[in-house]
């Protein structure tokens, strides 16, 4: 456990030393969300109709950005070998990586959610639900993404392959997340959708690190 916490602490410390990486993901999220009003033109109702899906899509794309360096940097400088020889199991290493990705990329996106939601004309009542849905969807993506990063490690053009593997698997989180935000915007209850989203995260929490660990082993 000490080793696992040490790895998590190191990941977070590295992210603090390179705040530009986190900032880039947040700005990317806000900018993608900002493209929709320009594309749709002065039609606030149409914009609000699109807002839930647009928020989810923008957040997932932004969270994908740092994924190809998640394990790639460690593989290049020899850190990954040392981690695999650290006495931690490969699945534990992957779990620490996924959690670190969620904390350094997923959570900062939540801070920018009100800005993006305002630009998409999402009713204020739904902002809280939007943050909950994005937080859960980002956690799902962090888990899937870590498995994808482990699978594409060492592959040529791994950075291109990674979204092609991860995004199709992330579709359920877009469906449930957007449904939750839509329900909240229409004044209904978002709880069942958020629970389904949480169930996805709960299922992926053990499975994705195990898959990632198996991929790291085979490398």
């Amino acid at each position: 456990m000490t080793g696992w916490l040490a790895l998590l602490a190191r990941e977070l410390r590295l992210a603090l030393r390179h705040p530009a990486d986190t900032l880039a993901a947040v700005l990317f999220f806000v900018l993608v969300a900002a493209l929709f009003p320009f594309g749709i033109g002065p039609a606030p109702e149409a914009l609000a109709r699109l807002a839930p899906g647009a928020l989810l899509a923008a957040a997932l794309l932004a969270a994908l950005l740092p994924l190809d360096r998640l394990l790639g940097a460690d593989a290049e400088d020899g850190s990954l070998d040392q981690l695999l020889l650290s006495g931690l199991g490969p699945a534990a290493i992957a779990a620490a990586k996924a959690l670190a990705h969620w904390i350094t990329t997923g959570l900062p996106l939540l801070a920018a959610t009100p800005v993006a939601a305002a630009m998409l004309n999402l009713p204020v009542e739904a902002w809280g639900t939007a943050m909950a849905a994005l937080g859960l969807a980002a956690a799902f993506l962090s888990l899937l993404g870590t498995a994808g990063a482990a699978l594409t490690l060492g592959a040529r053009r791994g950075g291109v392959l990674l979204p092609l593997i991860v995004l199709p698997l992330a579709i359920p989180s877009v469906i449930f997340g957007a449904a939750a935000i839509e329900a909240a915007a229409a004044g209904g209850t978002a709880r069942p959708y958020l629970l389904l989203l949480a169930a996805l995260v709960a299922a992926a929490t053990p499975l994705a690190p195990l898959a990632a660990g198996a991929a790291l082993r085979g490398e």
């Binding site: 040490a6 020899g78 070998d81 650290s86």
Partner: protein, 196 residues
Amino acid sequence: MLEARDLACRRAERVVFAGLSFSLAAGDALLLTGANGAGKSSLLRLLAGLLPRADGALLWGGEDALADRVLHARRLRYVGHGDALKPALTARENLAFFARLHGGAVEPALAALGLSALAELPARVLSAGQKRRLGLARLALAPAPLWLLDEPTTGLDASSVERLGALLARHRAAGGMVVAATHLPLPLPDAAELRL
């Protein structure tokens, strides 16, 4: 203690080496030599459990060493081509991370490689030789019975090679084993040589 029987390694369908056998007892050192691409690094990675073996057996105290790779990892230290340093962290922070993984104290390990004065510098500004020394400082943390060293003296000056020699001598005197791949003379007296 460590015994290899008919080890074979295959990479991308090419047989790198096959039928490799040797054994190491406490305090023994084995020097791997051979041309570039002969499989020295592959053998070290195989011994560490980082590469799958194509054939043969690796025994630790008579039992399959790689049956539990996490357990096997705890009895060895591996120094590979990469120094596993994060440029944004200071020398001390880099080593402190491995101290939390393996145990051991950071300051004596830094001192053992003559890095105390550089401890506060980010690894990014260290020279290649200094980075190498910081990578080797991991060996001076908690003891482990088997050291696997891949070209450990690359980029080191004479006095640093001497410091490494002192570390190696202490490790072997305490019953530790060393397998090292090298092209340069290493401070490993009475080491057996395995030519790949």
